[in-house]
């Protein structure tokens, strides 16, 4: 479709936007409050990075263009902030009028000078020892409204901080850490409310999304991702068959999972907020929870004022693979069958790329972007036709998925969707019945990785040592550029190791991403050609972001324990 009239309109529109941006950048904004209006129009002030994904549409695309295809090779490191604690660092900073705010493990918040990395203040919340997290003391970032920052903590609290001083303004306990509830996501601020969702999908939680008054923390609404009796969708937690030969849990819905651990999106015109919902609990012992298990592994579209469900689409009904659907919902206005559509683009952990109508929830397309043998296709309503593999046989994609929580990107200039994918990676799935115990792991796992040689190292969810002993034989990473109009691969950039790094694109058609191997790399967003790379040492488990101060564009990324910031040579 490249070169179509509508595609050209997209490009022209992006050009106009760039002109507006240039005008705005000539006068640097003094430090001022972040209004709801500014958040809704974040794309118009690309010198800042106001939300986790850069804007409500979560495209992780910036209209900045100073760093371009020709000069990107002249990037140089401007500063490094060395994090104080060990462990993966998955956060994305925000930048507001010349100040960068970032979280570091476990629940610290720092204000930094984005030109030098020097620290203005630090706030340290020590999570309760009761906090339980399956996969590391992660925190992915902050929300902001006015002069107030919002952080959701590992021990189930939502804390508001004064952005000028780091002093707490209020804190509220949202979820019980003893029962395995936690927060690892960056809150989403919409109008005058702060929206969060609970993690704990490996602890048998009953997930929910809640909105809180930004002034007080008081809960405004709550949407349970596992509906209770009498609520629509509860029927998908079917009763146990009489005399079931295997263990069946009659109360499965009470600890049915549906965690929320990555920030959602928002369409201000439709007033809908979109959230990806995590796996059903227990993760792998699916037979003990009969039914589709809504709204696990789904995207839910909620009225932002009331939390009422407007529509949903379930990517993996009755999940037996831990295919969380917590990916960032990317909103984009694209062409579909010759006309415009308000779309949602989604590369799912289950290995398929989806296009949905984000107003109605209508399924427009599903197509595998990596090898996927758990389904053979989709029926006319978009329900996957599942092909459960024989016992002992590998399932593609493997447990960590064809992708996961790593931020994708959509460039309105190229019209392409970019995803960090895992290829040639499989798991031999098996579930073990498990009874729920509050606060204890609730996975039911008897799966094993599929490896070429018995006993060979397998790709894990965590980091490997300095030697890539799992090699390409266990799977490898790639950045895949997908044309949303037909799901085809426009180009692919292969890496030897898998990657959990997110992706940033800019108005100069530069794509930034990282890798497990510690490379920070810039690609041509149109062709996938490597333009530049720097070895930062530590694995990159975050997504790059960009901002501009005093006429200079910067790009920041976290590698290992270091926040590293680049700009063009002076």
């Amino acid at each position: 479709m490249a070169g179509s009239a509508s595609q050209k309109w997209l490009v022209r529109s992006a050009g106009l936007q760039a002109c507006l941006v240039a005008l705005l950048l000539t006068g640097l904004r003094a430090q001022s409050s972040v209004t709801a209006d500014r958040l809704a129009n974040a794309a118009k002030e690309p010198q800042n990075w106001l939300t986790y994904s850069g804007g409500y549409f979560s495209q992780r695309y910036s209209a900045l263009n100073q760093i371009d295809l020709t000069n990107v090779r002249n990037l140089e490191q401007k500063w490094v902030y060395q994090g104080a604690v060990a462990g993966g660092w998955q956060t994305t900073p925000i930048v507001v009028d010349g100040v960068m705010y970032i979280t570091q493990r476990p629940n610290d918040v720092l204000a930094l000078d984005p030109k030098t990395g020097r620290v203005f203040w630090i706030y340290q919340h020590v999570p309760s020892p009761e906090a339980r997290v399956c996969c590391g003391s992660n925190n992915r970032g902050l929300g902001i409204l006015g002069d107030t920052l919002f952080m959701a903590t590992l021990d189930g609290q939502l804390i508001a901080l004064d952005a000028k001083s780091g002093k707490p303004l209020w804190r509220t306990l949202v979820a019980d850490p003893k029962a395995g509830y936690s927060f690892t996501l960056a809150p989403l601020v919409v109008k005058d409310e702060v929206i969060v969702g609970v993690g704990g999908g490996e602890y048998g939680i009953r997930g929910y999304i809640s909105a809180h008054d930004a002034k007080t923390g008081k809960e405004r609404w709550r949407f349970y991702t596992v509906p209770g009796p009498g609520e629509a969708g509860h029927e998908t937690w079917r009763p146990c068959p009489p005399n079931s030969a295997t263990f069946c849990d009659p109360d499965a819905w009470k600890h049915g999972g549906g965690s929320i651990w990555v920030t959602g999106s928002y369409d201000p015109v439709a007033n809908l907020t979109y959230w990806g919902v995590g796996n059903a609990g227990p993760d792998w012992s699916a037979d003990q929870r009969p039914g589709d298990n809504l709204y696990t592994d789904s995207v839910v579209a909620l009225d932002a004022d009331t939390g009422k469900l407007r529509w949903h689409y379930q990517f993996t009904p009755h999940d037996r693979y831990d295919y969380d659907s917590v990916q960032v919902p990317v909103l984009a206005d694209i062409n579909w069958n010759g006309g415009p559509v308000k779309a949602m683009l989604w590369a799912n952990r289950n290995g398929n790329f989806y296009v949905l109508d984000r107003i109605t929830g209508r399924f427009l397309m599903g197509k595998a972007f990596v090898k996927a043998n758990w389904l053979s296709g989709f029926d006319e309503r978009g329900r996957p036709i599942q092909t459960v593999q024989p016992e002992g046989s590998p399932t593609w994609p493997g447990n960590q998925g064809g992708t996961n929580w790593y931020s994708p990107s959509f460039s309105p200039r190229t019209g392409l969707f970019y995803v960090s994918a895992w290829e040639d990676y499989a798991t031999i799935f098996a579930g073990t019945p498990i009874e729920y115990r509050e606060g204890q792991q609730f996975g039911g796992n008897a799966s094993r990785p599929y490896v070429a040689v018995p006993g060979a190292p397998a790709v894990g969810g965590g980091r490997r040592g300095p030697i890539n002993s799992w090699t390409e034989a266990a799977g490898h990473g790639a950045v895949i550029a997908i044309d949303p109009e037909n799901g085809s691969h426009k180009w692919k950039f292969d890496m030897t190791d898998v990657s959990i790094a997110g992706i940033l694109t800019t108005a100069s058609d530069v794509l930034f991403t990282g890798s497990n191997e510690g490379y920070f790399q810039a690609l041509n967003a149109k062709t996938g050609a490597l333009l530049w790379k720097a070895s930062l040492g530590g694995p990159i488990a975050s997504a790059p972001m960009t901002f501009q101060i005093d006429g200079k564009q910067y790009v920041s990324v976290v590698s290992g324990l270091s926040l590293v910031t680049f700009a063009l040579r002076d």
Binding site: Q31, D113, R118, F120, W121, V126, D162, K167, P168
Partner: protein, 251 residues
């Protein structure tokens, strides 16, 4: 958490090392006496000899001699005994220690405790403290935020701060005056500094980072901009303000 408390304690107790009982600030002793009465006297009795073999009024302790050791026992307890760990903050511990060191001579009945509510009124009214200081999200940011000052500073330090502000000003908070090469004057409160740069919150409440090489002048003032209240607040009013500040324990 424990490390953080000990770090804070080392700050407030630094002036209390190896000094004569009479050198402990009266504000600390008075504050400690009130905490002792509320938290410690159930077991130790007001006379300090409620536990067999322990006489707190004697000024001698079986296991410890230094203030830091006393602080550790108060906050950590003594295993296998009835002495539990207490969740006191640095100001509380400083007060209790000051009182214990003076228990033999100090008469708690002589204490006329400050009134925190009256102190808040003075803070926001006559004292005009709220024109510079911020508390719990209200007020300007030009001076340090005091929302948790009652857990960080001892009563004695707060009292002295009212009388001689510069003597108690944390060096990191010192005022900065900078003039850029093009003549722009920037004044504010220091937040951080290194060899090449300084970070401050300026008088317009902007977080500002300055590169020293870009400055024509750079001065760090050692005098606090806060006035002394020695002559402008009565002793009772000072005690009330201290009581109010001690009640500010943060969120």
């Amino acid at each position: 958490m424990v490390l953080a408390l000990l770090a804070a304690l080392s700050t407030v107790l630094a002036s209390a090392q190896d000094i004569h009982p009479a050198d402990y600030p009266r504000a600390d002793i008075e504050y400690g006496a009130r905490i002792y009465a509320a938290q410690c006297s159930t077991c130790h009795l007001p006379t300090g000899d409620g536990i067999a073999g322990v006489n707190l009024r004697s000024g001698k302790f079986r296991n410890v001699s230094r203030d830091q050791d006393l602080a550790r026992i108060i906050t950590s307890g003594i295993p296998q005994t009835a002495m539990p760990p207490f969740k006191f903050d640095a100001a509380d511990v400083a007060g209790i220690i000051a009182y214990l060191r003076n228990m033999n001579t100090f008469d708690p009945a002589s204490v006329k405790p400050g009134d925190g509510r009256r102190g808040q009124a003075v803070f926001e009214g006559k004292g005009r403290c709220a024109t510079c200081h911020r508390v719990n999200g209200r007020g300007p940011r030009s001076a340090p935020d005091l929302s948790d000052v009652g857990s960080l500073r001892s009563a004695g330090s707060l009292q002295r701060s009212l009388l001689d502000p510069s003597s108690q000003m944390m060096p990191i908070n010192r005022p900065v005056r900078a003039v850029t090469k093009d003549g722009k004057v920037i004044t504010g409160r220091r937040l951080n500094e290194d060899t090449y740069s300084v970070q401050l919150i300026d008088d317009q409440e902007h977080l500002v980072s300055l590169t020293k090489a870009d400055l024509r002048e750079f001065t760090i003032l050692k005098t606090s901009p806060m006035p002394s209240f020695k002559d402008t607040l009565e002793a009772d009013e000072q005690a009330d303000v201290v009581a109010y500040l001690l009640s500010l324990k943060g969120l």
